[in-house]
């Protein structure tokens, strides 16, 4: 099976054959012959010769979270077979800096207005969650081009609260 794996922000070709307990994989030319066990659903025990690698795989929004040797790796798997044709990707404009809610919560205060000039680190919006108030700061200097929330709004993780250009 030919796949693409996006890990640590790099997309790599991943060619993998799984045959019962044997796994043969090639990543950008690096070859791995592994013995595979699954002691628990989602726990993959991989032997490379005598090396033991127990991987705990969990589905996430972006793909998979893989816990291995006390480190968490974010991995996205792309299956070219399943890609629809005509991808109009990259709706993301790099001239903009979006202030994004990292978790669900409530907007309690907004320090700026559309059109305001802001410095890097200026407080933009204060979001309260789990009894804590967190001031979202501007990641860069620029001008506030949009504010998408008002005090009292409930926001979800990933919501764009404001945009600085």
């Amino acid at each position: 099976m030919k796949l693409k794996a996006v890990i640590d922000d790099r997309e790599q070709d991943l060619n993998i054959q799984i045959d019962g307990g044997r796994v043969r994989a090639e990543i950008d030319g690096r070859v791995y012959d592994l013995e595979l066990r699954e002691p628990e659903p989602g726990s993959y025990l991989l032997f490379r010769d005598t090396e033991v690698h127990e991987c705990r795989v969990t589905k996430t929004h972006e793909g998979f979270d893989v816990g291995l040797h006390g480190v968490n790796h974010g991995v996205a798997i792309v299956d070219p077979k399943r890609l629809r044709s005509g991808t109009d990707s990259d709706k993301h404009h790099h001239g903009l800096a979006e202030i994004i809610a990292p978790m669900p919560g409530k907007v309690v205060r907004i320090h700026i207005e559309t059109g305001d000039a802001v410095e890097k680190g200026d407080g933009i919006v204060v979001v309260e969650a789990m009894k804590m108030q967190n001031e979202m700061k501007s990641p860069r200097a620029g001008v506030v081009v949009s504010i998408n929330v008002k005090p009292g709004d409930t926001v979800n993780a990933g919501d764009v609260l404001a945009v600085v250009e």
Binding site: L3, A5, V6, I7, D8, D9, E11, L14, I16, I18, V23, A25, I27, Y32, G42, Y44, L46, R48, H53, C55, R56, V57, T58, K59, H61, E62, G63, F64, D65, V66, G67, L68, H69, V71, N72, H73, G74, V75, A76, I77, V78, D79, R82, L83, G86, T87, S89, K91, H92, P102, M103, V108, R109, A129, M130, K131, M132, Q133, N134, E135
Partner: protein, 505 residues
């Protein structure tokens, strides 16, 4: 001894208290909000009473509901744990007025020590040094501005009714004062129903060191030594130790005696903690505040002294004498606790609620776990994101750190982001190992941390494991693969960047 006790709390501390009751043959009654019906503390209890909707001000902070619950099950006493109503004198009074025993100090002692401003007055009366600052609550922003100028920046804004870092802000210059003042007020109001603030001069390279005291109703007051709690984020402790790495018996005695004096001044009973700031520059210590309840970090004191603080609380509340004297208290070995939070250390410790899809906790020699969650537990957005406490004991601080490192590496949690990767970094940090701690530790740690990338082999094997999982479940990783590959990759960038930052170094 009581036959039945109501546990007016949730999460790991409720579990801890249920265990303490069980060991004495006391029936434990849990309370829960509608969001908590399936929580571990409910499953572990003998009885449970729903006290209201998810929002804590309508359930766990609802004095009437909690007292009514206690009466309805014929509980003889109420243990408040920490947080929620634990330091609410009104609650203590309501419990006593309902004819039940409040497991904690008298409402009068709570009044005196509960407000930081009056607590500072008590310290002064007891001849214990305090940090220069306002003795009364600030009446206005203008007063805040004037006082700040008087002491000179940096200054600390604190909630008069406060505790646990809620409504606390470090202000390094006048330009920051207004925003900090407003935020602290709102937070204080939200957390304690009282927006009153006061202001202190900030101490240089302060160590946060607290003394555990214990008093019975027969006039015995003892201390169980110190805990070092300097490692904090957002003025909240994340790692605590007993003893302090300073481990100076004379300092322990002097701070212990100061704490006992304060306890005597207010006729304290039960478990209490007197917090001090110790300047790592001058070596002087100042009274900071008193927590009139059991602390989150009590396990490190239990591990080193051998005393079961909850057991002692129950006996003292039942009118017994302390089971030990000051001379009986010995400090053996070293204990360290990590608070495992459902927070993303790579993202400024933002809470990350969700469902725990996999959980394997460490065990074995010298390891103690106090957990509020089990497999498939929901970490809700409504409450404090601490899910568990990992505490280790060793003959020496070195041994304790080695065990902590081992235990952290064993700890597996999936489905939510936790502070585990952060701790794995800290226990490998030179400064931490050397015991050079102060409340600025995390800031400096984040600066100096050298990020070591994991070996290519591990990265590849992680990718392979994900591919295996994908192939077995055959759902595309993206709903709209084409459209989202790059978007996903972009999101991932931040995320993985974060993850990388927290890798073991």
């Amino acid at each position: 001894m009581f036959r039945k006790v109501l546990i007016a709390n949730r999460g790991e501390i409720a579990l801890r208290l249920i265990r303490g009751c069980r060991e004495l043959g006391i029936k434990a009654v849990a309370i829960y909000s509608e969001a908590d019906a399936e929580s571990l503390h409910v499953r572990a209890a003998d009885e449970a009473v729903c006290v209201g909707p998810a929002a804590s001000n309508q359930s766990y902070l609802n004095i009437d509901a909690v007292v009514t619950a206690a009466k309805s099950v014929n509980a003889e006493a109420v243990h408040p744990g920490y947080g929620f109503l634990a330091e609410n004198a009104g609650f203590a009074r309501a419990v006593v007025d309902a004819g039940l025993t409040f497991i904690g100090p008298s409402a009068e002692a709570m009044d005196l020590m509960g407000s930081k401003t009056s607590a500072r007055r008590v310290a002064v009366e007891s001849g214990v040094p305090i940090v220069p600052g306002t003795v009364d609550a600030l009446v206005s922003f203008d007063e805040a501005q004037k006082t700040a100028e008087k002491f000179g920046y940096p200054v600390m804004l604190k909630a008069a009714a406060g505790g646990g870092g809620k409504g606390m802000r470090l202000v390094s210059g006048s330009d920051e004062l207004r925003s900090a003042f407003e935020t602290a007020q709102t937070e204080a109001a939200a957390a304690f129903g009282d927006s009153a603030l006061y202001l202190e001069k900030a101490v240089e390279r302060p160590r946060h060191i607290e003394i555990q005291i214990f008093a019975d109703t027969h006039g015995n007051v003892v201390h169980l030594g110190e805990r070092e709690c300097s490692i904090q984020r957002r003025h909240q402790k994340v790692i605590e130790e007993c003893p302090s790495p300073i481990n100076d018996p004379d300092l322990r005695r002097r701070m212990g005696e100061a704490a006992v004096k304060i306890g005597r001044t207010v006729n304290y009973t039960g478990a209490g903690t007197v917090e001090f700031l110790l300047s790592d520059v001058t070596g002087e210590f100042y009274f900071l505040e008193m927590n009139t309840r059991l602390q989150v970090e009590h396990p490190v004191t239990e591990l080193v002294t051998g005393f079961d603080l909850v057991r002692e609380q129950l006996f003292v509340a039942a009118g017994a004498q302390l089971s030990f004297t000051q001379e009986d208290v010995r400090w053996v070995g070293h204990a360290i606790e990590c608070r495992i939070y459902a927070e993303d250390p790579a993202n400024n410790f933002f809470p990350s609620p969700g469902t725990i899809t996999y959980l394997r906790e460490p065990a074995g020699p010298g390891v103690r776990i106090d957990s509020g969650v089990a497999n498939l537990s929901e970490v809700s957005i409504y409450y404090d994101p601490m899910i568990a406490k990992l505490a280790v004991w060793g003959r020496t601080r070195e041994e304790a750190i080695e065990r902590l490192r081992r235990a952290l590496d064993e700890y597996q949690v999936a489905g939510i982001t936790t502070t585990l990767p952060f701790f794995r970094g800290v226990v490998r940090d030179e400064e931490f190992i050397a015991g050079r701690l102060d409340t600025g530790f995390i800031g400096r740690f984040n600066e100096r941390r050298v990020v070591v990338d994991p070996p290519q082999e591990h990265v590849d094997i992680a990718a392979i494991a994900a591919a295996i999982h994908y192939s077995r479940h055959q759902q595309p990783a993206f709903v709209q693969p084409g459209a989202q590959v790059s978007d996903g990759r972009w999101k991932m960038a931040g995320r993985v960047e974060g993850l990388r930052k927290w890798r073991r170094s």
